[in-house]
Symmetry: D2
Subunit: 361 residues, 4 copies
């Protein structure tokens, strides 16, 4: 029998659009189908560390109405570090994992749903293993770099914000005959940059998986001009590297930071190589906090429902995942182990090259 369970849910790591939609789906499924109680733990594992434990009971009225439409997470996500090496006020680190496990016990939880990325999952798994508690993971990351799932919550919205920026940069680029550089997030994976670049009509897309050279970029911009077009759009992922392997260190010279960021650097180099007037936009945190896209809400809802079902079935240490129009689940350890970069022979790279987009190589 599954009746009478009490489950916890927490959001961990960088926030993104769709977290509230996950929380709502979990509460709907747990309360309406199984009659369970859901406790929302505040600020990731931090809520379990504090005494009294920081949480709120989540019932239908708390998650109804407009909540699923809102970005961010009502539970907060300001955890301050790895509980196994928690940064203390005096500068030392301390293993505080037992306190978190104690928090879990104090709440009398039967299981915990963690919404996070690979880093959060690794810690939660370690806690669950040590504390003997039961967990299920729901993947969220704007970077979409989690293995074994086609998409993670937050990615579609982040791509949408980046495409919208390109839509806005295009007319001003054309009016002023400029090369517009847009720097986007994505950590070590170029998914946001590549998808946004294709959908937003970019001419050049630089991703961490492919080392770029300024000459190749300049070549493409000259080719664009030769067709009679006077402007170009360039998307730069935040962690790109040059062909000689240098990355962000290029931004510093003689110990001094010379560039605001990689976008600035690329913009200046393009200007030097082509004579073009360039302007740089760094998209920043607007990629995280937006109202979730319909697809993010759909995926979030499907994930939330399935995660609760896993608990009902007694299946733990699993991560829910999107695959081929549906929801599956995979061992969370495998998902953590596999970092999902852009596949160099995948459909996105092929499409980009097919459109004539330069990937800088």
């Amino acid at each position: 029998m599954t009746a009478g369970k009490r489950i916890g849910i927490l959001t961990s790591g960088g926030d993104c659009a769709g977290l509230n939609a996950v929380i709502r789906a979990v509460v709907h499924r747990a309360v309406l189908t199984y009659g369970w109680q859901v406790l929302g733990i505040k600020e990731g594992t931090q809520g379990l560390l504090q005494r009294p434990v920081q949480y709120q009971v989540l019932d239908l009225p708390q998650v109804d109405g407009n909540m699923m439409r809102m970005g961010g997470t009502i539970l907060g996500t300001t955890n301050r570090g790895d509980p196994f090496a928690y940064p203390m006020a005096d500068g030392t680190q301390k293993d505080r994992s037992d306190e978190i496990i104690g928090g879990y016990r104090e709440l009398g939880l039967d299981a915990l749903i963690g919404i996070g990325g690979d880093g959060s999952f690794a810690i939660l798994k370690k806690l669950a293993d040590k504390g003997g508690f039961q967990m299920v993971g729901i993947p969220k990351t704007i970077d979409n770099d989690l293995g074994l799932t086609e998409v993670s919550v937050g990615y579609d919205t982040a791509v949408g914000v980046a495409v919208e920026a390109l839509d806005r940069l295009q007319p001003t680029a054309a009016s002023h005959a400029r090369v517009m550089v847009l720097e986007v997030m994505g950590r070590d994976a170029g998914h946001i940059a590549l998808a946004a670049g294709i959908a937003g009509g970019a001419d050049v897309v630089l991703i961490p998986e492919i080392a770029y050279s300024i000459e190749k970029i300049a070549q493409k911009i000259k080719q664009v001009r030769s067709t009679g077009r006077n402007f170009a759009l360039v998307v730069v992922s935040e962690a790109v590297k040059t062909v000689d392997g240098t990355g962000v260190q290029k931004l510093f010279q003689g110990g001094q930071k010379r560039y605001g960021g990689i976008g600035d650097y690329i913009g200046e180099k393009i200007a030097e190589a082509t004579g073009a007037e360039t302007r740089v936009t760094v998209l920043g945190h607007v990629q995280r906090g937006s109202m979730p896209s319909p697809r993010d809400r759909l995926v979030a809802s499907a994930f939330g429902v399935h995660a609760v079902d896993l608990i009902a079935e007694g299946k733990f240490d699993r991560m829910v995942a999107w695959s081929n129009r549906g929801v599956i689940d995979v061992p969370i350890a495998e998902a953590i182990a596999e970092y999902a970069c852009v596949e160099l022979d995948g459909a996105m790279v092929k499409t980009a090259r097919g459109l004539g987009i330069s990937l800088g190589d």
Copy 2:
């Protein structure tokens, strides 16, 4: 060798968002990679029927800049009927397929890319078979009812428009304690309604695949009220049927049309059954004409590139398709033969039920 080919492209059937992005991708790939010439045929097969043949040469400047961001199709899609039974001015029908085949020959085309749905593909395939010409299909339909592809061009945007409508109806529903009914498109498939209902926070979603009863709907609305919420959102797909099998005929009584549409009918019946104040919104053609969503542009771009590659490889009578994060191709005859309704045991139905959404049954 593939050099020097001349290919045609046409859009057929109801328009949707993303068609221009497909056209652009085809031109980019054909011109930049293969050095081919692309002719855009006007108004579907109608352009091949007219003399002189109606077309325009599509080179990079024609498809550059803002075109991929625009809804609709620059080629038009006002074809007037089945060329094998073409409706003539005098009311008779005539087989005009030879004229279309003649148009294809007159242009000296090596292959034709048809962007359409199942109806358009069936006709194009028949023309290709009869005329001995070579074609590749790219699936587009807001209804997403084409078999063998996860998504068709236009679907994601249509869902987005419907979700946005629900986002707007929610606050006015709550302010006035109303039940808001939203009627969406989708023909005999409930994909738009179901996806929009999940992502838009609906309480009830009626789809053609599941016969509804007003009592079940009323039950759900009463349950919502019992949780303290004073409003509800209901999504109705345009071709839903009742449990006793009656569909749109319900709208007529004694030969008179009594309701503007199915949404009106459902709205009135809910009001009768629950005493709730109801309001009905029929979404209509705004679902077609919007600026394409990022995902529709991405899929459109991938499809366009792959379709050109199929021609380069000499693979014909194929439809490009989306599968598991990538592009594949399938026999077009099989795609036509398989109408893709909502799967009753699929992830979307399971998610909807998991959230407590009533599907009217």
Copy 3:
């Protein structure tokens, strides 16, 4: 001295975007500047009629965060009728004004801020006169038909939703060579239709202030075609009338409703007169419930602050108003008395005619 006051606020009449932004501004001003207490009365005057009186204390945490961005009103607006002739369950009407005045006294209010349109203001003024209580009005109506203020809260958002619909109808109109008819709200004033028609690129705009004839509309559509354009956009305000003075009664024939609404009627008549394929979209309640536009939030904020200041200064029976980039206040009786239609010699009509838009005359 103003310290220690307790004021009430209620929303009345049809909801619109920006009401929550008004409420927030009132609370911010009253609490932060004056240290007053603000009570939010539920469901318009209905909250004062019920016993116990239905209200909630509104302090900073209640109105902070995301509330100003949300459509609708957190206070609800489901009042059930004129308290001076309140519809009772047994079908009779009863003067229940004393009960409302009693509710006001019971709460110990020093003043009441009513957010409403002309109808709501008339009732609130009558209540205030009878009950000796003090009120200030904040104008809201998507129709923008309130006198003595350039804009009312909700109008800008409603225009934006209508323009967006035209933006979406344009490409599908062009792809299919259709005449698209969009029916918008506005009651007896054509402001939404006219502004949306100008900003949305309409060819024909029908407003209640100008009687239309189908011939003139047909003429315009033919002129558009003569320039080589194959589609047209027509905006119809919900209460338009023909040159022979008939209005919505046209929709009925022999006692039977023949058309879903005025948009359907106009669409059919255009089809008959021009041979064009027409499609009709009725925008409906999505015009009310949207996230408020930046301008609506700005105006709402300015109104809310000024209304509180009026109370602090002891100025009552006033309506705040927008004039020439700033906020003023006017006698509420004068504002009620003046219904603001579209001025036939005003800038909007001149602009529309200047663009070649047919107003149907």
Copy 4:
């Protein structure tokens, strides 16, 4: 008689949303009402400088359809400098005004409509005076700093983009308990920052007209925290100055640029003063290039029509302007002379202070 005139139109200075809507309105009015010919001059005055003169004939088909919805300007605006002191390739400056006047004559223009800001108007006025040609100005600037008009084309859209960014930053700020700093454009006028800050729910808005001190900002952030809210939104106009009068020079230290921009500087100082985690977003060029808002399209349309009417009436050296819901015209010399900063005793400042927003003073 006005028949048979030929008028030129050009866009000058920084681009913004709504320029294409102005161009369309001018063409519609000139062609449809007066039967004139309109020549679109390329790249501001640059098109008149080049030989052959760079222009395109603008008739209805060129400006129809989707153009009014598009950001930027189809005419381009890449003029390279003051024609009275034109920067030559050899580094010298040359008076090339006669060449521009020659271009005007060569085209046989009867009048010129210049769409620009104060800088562009000053040059055009000087050219008109010297060359004896006739001009009318249409104000555009996202900064809204032009005197004698309530709004300029492009301002409303720029505010909208900034508000949308705040809408997106709010949930991520709340989820992570951060202070989010948003740097916006506006040159020496704080209009964008102030309007966006009010409409977007900012806690602190820094504008060039009011010198700020970090202590005052920190005070506000601490007050926000004392109400239980864990995040804050700060809007910074690009040219703000401290109370001791230092502005952008703060960004440099020992000749080295220490900060990416003023936003970075403010963010770091807030972090130091409050201990808050801060993140900075620089909005950049997305403020310029967007699809114009409905209001910008409305104002643009009204301006375009009125400018043509001025020419028809033989009224020159005028700038069209928005005043009190309508269009007027003013002497262009007066408009140039009056720089419109934020009025310190105006409604916007009063509203901001009324909401409890800190202006840094």
